[in-house]
């Protein structure tokens, strides 16, 4: 244990995802030794992200205004929605430049082990977006693991009465993986080869 403030910093860093106690300690001592200007920039970035960044009221993606850049862009096809688990998946798909529609960020996947059910995801918001008939195609781009598959199946069944074209990103994606880690070529190919989801 270190003295008060240092230990506080280590504890806070240790709460971040993927940061264990050892890394937390290393980062803390790095910051202690760092140039004050560098630390100031980091502090500012952290403060700004909390002050300025919000979640888009339409799609749930991170945004600096009420609506995100993509939802505001009139060139994006409003008839196609790509459903993803997290904002970082939007970034991954945008990099492929394959997709010209809009997104819907669920905020996770169905996982009873973690106590996440459909009511904890932004599914109601999605249904509201589908209500007026503008959207004709839904691409389910949840992660290619069990929970992502289950979420895709759940959504496909839910929207079945609406007679939309429902597709699921196809092969090529490593099963059991995370969408954000798929490389651009693989992800791009998966978009082209997406298949109709029959439920």
């Amino acid at each position: 244990m270190y003295e008060g403030v240092v230990q506080n910093l280590i504890d806070e860093l240790g709460r971040l995802p993927g940061v264990g106690p050892k890394s937390a300690q290393r980062i803390a001592f790095h910051l202690l030794a760092a140039d004050p200007a560098d630390v100031e920039r980091l502090t500012k970035a952290l403060r700004e992200v909390k002050d300025k960044v919000r979640f888009c009221r339409t799609c749930g993606n991170v945004a600096e205004e009420d609506e995100c850049r993509i939802c505001r862009d009139p060139r994006r096809d409003p008839a196609v929605i790509c459903v993803v688990e997290e904002s970082k998946d939007v970034v991954a798909i945008e990099k492929t430049r394959e997709f010209r529609g809009r997104y819907h960020v669920l905020g996770g996947a169905i996982s009873p082990i973690e106590g996440v059910g459909p009511e904890d995801l932004r599914i109601r918001e999605l249904m509201q977006r589908l209500a007026d008939g503008t959207v004709t195609e839904l691409i389910l781009a949840t992660d290619p693991n069990l929970e992502g598959e289950a979420t895709a199946t759940y959504l496909a069944r839910l929207v079945k009465p609406m007679h939309l074209k429902v597709t699921r990103l196809a092969s090529g994606l490593p099963v059991g993986g995370d969408l954000e880690y798929a490389d651009e070529v693989t992800l791009g190919r998966a978009f082209e080869g997406r298949r109709l989801l029959d439920v």
Binding site: S111, P112, I113, G117, P118, L146, T153, Y154, V175
Partner: protein, 379 residues
């Protein structure tokens, strides 16, 4: 196939060990507790990515060491491969094949195939149904490594589904439409992976049955006939000639059984249908072996199961490496000799014994002594 070289680092009692091996018979001899089983356990681990003795990996790492490393040089049809596994407790293992990292260790299952006989095998006959299910699933994986993935997927679906059932059972009022719709989704996933596992097990049991009968009668000629059966949680729904049923035929039947069991499952908060509830039934004559067979008969049945596994893998192609850990000490002279005759033709047989006299003369070959953590070549 055979193992030409084994190298250990911080595995069990060994800080380091380097052992050169050859095809044919090799015997490891030494007093109790000196590390004979540890050696063959390491070879078994390279093949199955699991120990035959313990369910978790922590005991495999030498006291006080952070991780264990096992390397095996495997020769298969004159091609040599170097398999390396780093065993990290509580984390996933790291694997390398011919010095290049393998993204998922599962991908190198099947590079080395072993059939391991050990005193623990008695549990195949006397133990819980789970022991026999594991026997089937491990053999499935040895035959077709992709079943490791199927099994892992099935376990994951089951865990998710049980979590949902449990939380639904905890609320006293009837589950809402969202819970039921989510359960429907897990049902279809459980049925799909479950049916795949079930179809494979049914096929395996059909292949294995005659081989078990043959091995048992060779080992214990004066005893009744050994046979296998499979009791599925699908019960009467299972079609006639179930071993020919495919996944696509079984999946809807499993969904049906799930629908029927739903009320009960919601009350009890656990999954009651699926291959995790099934049982491999061992029969001796007209009686189940479990609870009826004598100690000696149980032993012969366990050996017959392993011998049948060996025959089956052998028929698929390359001879698996045979490992006999301390089994002769448990057998009378007649069965010792008959077992020796059955295993002698294998490309490589590795044997451990506390005293050399336990090993039948039919199995002569290279020999090592194991004492005080040192493995020394005798001849």
């Amino acid at each position: 196939m055979h193992v030409a070289h084994l190298s250990l680092q911080d595995f069990r009692s060994y800080a380091t060990a380097e052992i050169a091996l050859a095809p044919g018979v090799t015997v490891f001899v030494g007093p109790n507790g000196q590390g004979k089983t540890n050696l063959v356990e390491a070879i078994g681990y390279v093949a199955a990515h699991a120990s035959h003795r313990v369910a978790t990996d922590a005991p495999l790492i030498r006291q006080g060491a952070p991780r264990a490393i096992v390397r095996a040089g495997v020769v298969r049809e004159d091609r040599r491969a170097l398999i390396e596994l780093e065993i990290n407790p509580g984390k996933s293992n790291r694997a390398r094949l011919n010095r290049s990292p393998v993204p998922r260790p599962r991908e190198i299952l099947g590079m080395l195939r072993t059939v391991l006989f050990a005193p623990e095998d008695l549990a195949l006959v006397k133990g819980d149904p789970g022991e026999r299910r594991r026997f089937l699933d491990e053999l499935l994986t040895a035959r077709a490594p992709r079943f490791a993935g199927v099994r892992a997927d099935y376990d994951r679906v089951l865990k998710q589904r049980n979590a949902l059932l449990k939380s639904a059972a905890a609320h006293r009022r009837a589950p809402g439409p969202e819970v039921l719709a989510t359960l429907d989704v897990w049902d279809s996933h459980l049925a799909r992976t479950g049916a795949e596992l079930l179809a494979a097990r049914l096929g395996l049991v059909a292949d294995l049955g005659p081989l078990v009968a043959k091995a048992y009668s060779a080992l214990a000629p004066s005893s009744g006939a050994a046979s296998l059966g499979y009791r599925s949680s699908l019960g009467e729904r299972l079609p006639a000639g179930p071993e020919r049923a495919g996944r696509d035929e079984l999946a809807p039947l499993m969904e049906e059984a799930l629908r029927e069991a739903r009320k009960q499952e919601l009350e009890r908060g656990v999954s009651l249908v699926g291959p995790h509830r099934d049982e491999l039934v061992l029969q001796l004559g007209e009686m189940p072996a479990r609870g009826y067979a004598s100690h000696g008969e149980s032993w012969s049945f366990a050996l017959a199961l392993r011998l049948a596994a060996f025959e089956l893998l052998r028929a698929d192609g390359d001879d698996p490496v045979l490992i006999l850990d301390d089994v002769f000490a448990e057998l009378d002279t007649g069965r010792r000799r008959r077992l020796a005759e059955l295993v002698a033709p294998a490309e490589q047989v590795l044997i451990t014994a506390a005293v050399p006299e336990d090993v039948p003369a039919e199995l002569s070959g290279a020999s090592f002594t194991v004492e005080d953590g040192e493995v020394k070549r005798e001849r």
